[in-house]
Symmetry: C2
């Protein structure tokens, strides 16, 4: 799957959800005593229905399963096992957001975090903007150096490790926060005017990689699923704050060509998009 | 999968559920507008967790998916696609019930219904009792003749079509009701003393192949899942009746060696047993 394809497909999916053609009900879960199974489902009217399953059994997540069925016959069109499709789809949604909302002349990117989510954001963003430099920070020097080597090689970009989150943020057109941090990882004052910031990490009250101050730094605040921000338990980090009311959906941005200057994108995971992607891959 | 293996595995599963080692929480579903997706889940402590998914999108059901994960690592041990495993597991549970509760010298069987559920009951019952004759009735002469041909050939049994439900029931040691009938298909007076009757078909208020009178005919009434009888919507056909209070679980029957004379078994589908079977098949 090429990044530009994945981004185009996720753009379609977000618009279909906005138009009500892609149904994405709230996730459901069952309690199995020592853990739980969670199911996110979706259906594209007249085309397919499907789901993703994942567990909450251990510290380390098990393999996810994505299934897509033909709408008419109910036969299985495809099954994906493993933890590759999920982050690719999150990356591609991030690519859609950058493409719609970042300055067209954005060329510099800073990544805070060097895990899978940071990787797939870089993968998708490099398909929608011509990046001249990528600055990478994570607390582990070993991990950031490994990320730099792999990214330089795979994407042929100028990628450099930096020694602080501040260096990854200051002066850059695009900023990706993709940590597991329970507390804010950047000072919003570091974000330059006109920058685009995506946050992938924890977003719950008591455990979030950003706070309401980051929202205050932006003149436009977007998420891929407002419904999902209301479904968090513990609640979404902005729940009950004036900042939460400022969120608009990426679907609305695309449908109504909304623009901003300094933009924050809260990536929360629009349901049904994993099956959407799988259906494209097997069609 | 041999019938005697499947029956032995389902016996293990029923005992594990009775002992609390096999967790089987109520099913969950999501509403996708034109249909729904349903998930039954289960976990055998320390061994595996898994689920079955099925849809409610069309008159004809789509393919079911059963997934089993390793408990420790969360990796997928096996996936089954299609509508074979479900009825085999229901058949095997029926075989467990017959083996535990029917007279050991039961040799004659009557089937009312000639669909997949009737077939897999015959498959399992023939593994636990030495059948000397099988009488088969369904409203379609064509279907009952086809069933007789296939069953005679596959099981090497004396199988005969009969012209009425009464002929399939009267005088037989074992009776299986496996219809789609919304109204009672037999008169309980036809059931002989000491017979064992299983019901597989509809069991909801306003749509059931049997009524409370069949329960009155028995001195022991058993089900594979009392929890499931409480989860029906529309309600279980016996809900709110004194007959409902008489139900005991097959797990209790096995654990406590309960016996009866004339027995009715209400097969409702113990959750988690599809994944149990799949785990055995891939182990």
């Amino acid at each position: 799957m090429a990044a530009h394809e994945a981004v185009a497909w996720m753009r379609e999916a977000i618009l279909a959800a906005h138009a009500g053609r892609l149904r994405t009900p709230p996730r459901v879960a069952t309690d199995l005593g020592d853990g739980r199974l969670v199911f996110t489902t979706g259906a594209l009217q007249g085309e397919w229905f499907g789901y993703r399953s994942y567990d909450g059994f251990d510290a380390e997540p098990g393999e996810q399963v994505v299934v897509v069925h033909d709408w008419q016959t109910g036969t299985v069109r495809g099954i994906a096992v493993g933890n590759e499709l999920g982050p690719r789809r999150v990356g591609a949604i991030g690519g859609v957001a950058v493409d719609a909302l970042a300055r067209t002349d954005a060329t510099t990117l800073g990544l805070v975090g060097t895990g899978t989510q940071a990787w797939t954001q870089l993968w998708a963003i490099s398909a929608v903007r011509a990046l001249s430099s990528v600055a990478v920070f994570s607390r582990s020097e070993e991990r950031r150096n490994a990320f730099v080597s792999r990214a330089s090689e795979e994407f042929g970009l100028s990628v450099n490790a930096v020694g602080s989150a501040r260096e990854a943020v200051e002066g850059n057109d695009l900023v990706v926060l993709a940590t597991n941090s329970p507390t804010p990882v950047i000072d919003p004052a570091w974000v330059k005017d006109g920058a685009f910031v995506t946050t992938l990490g924890p977003k719950q009250v008591g455990r979030a990689e950003f706070g309401p101050e980051l929202i205050d730094r932006a003149d436009l605040v977007v998420t891929d699923s407002i419904a999902q921000t209301h479904a968090y338990d513990p609640p979404f980090v902005l729940a009950g704050t004036p900042q939460h009311d400022r969120l608009i959906s990426l679907g609305e941005v695309l449908a109504d060509h909304v623009k901003g200057q300094t933009v924050v994108f809260c990536s929360v995971g629009l349901a049904g998009t994993e099956a959407y992607l799988l259906n494209k891959l097997v069609s």
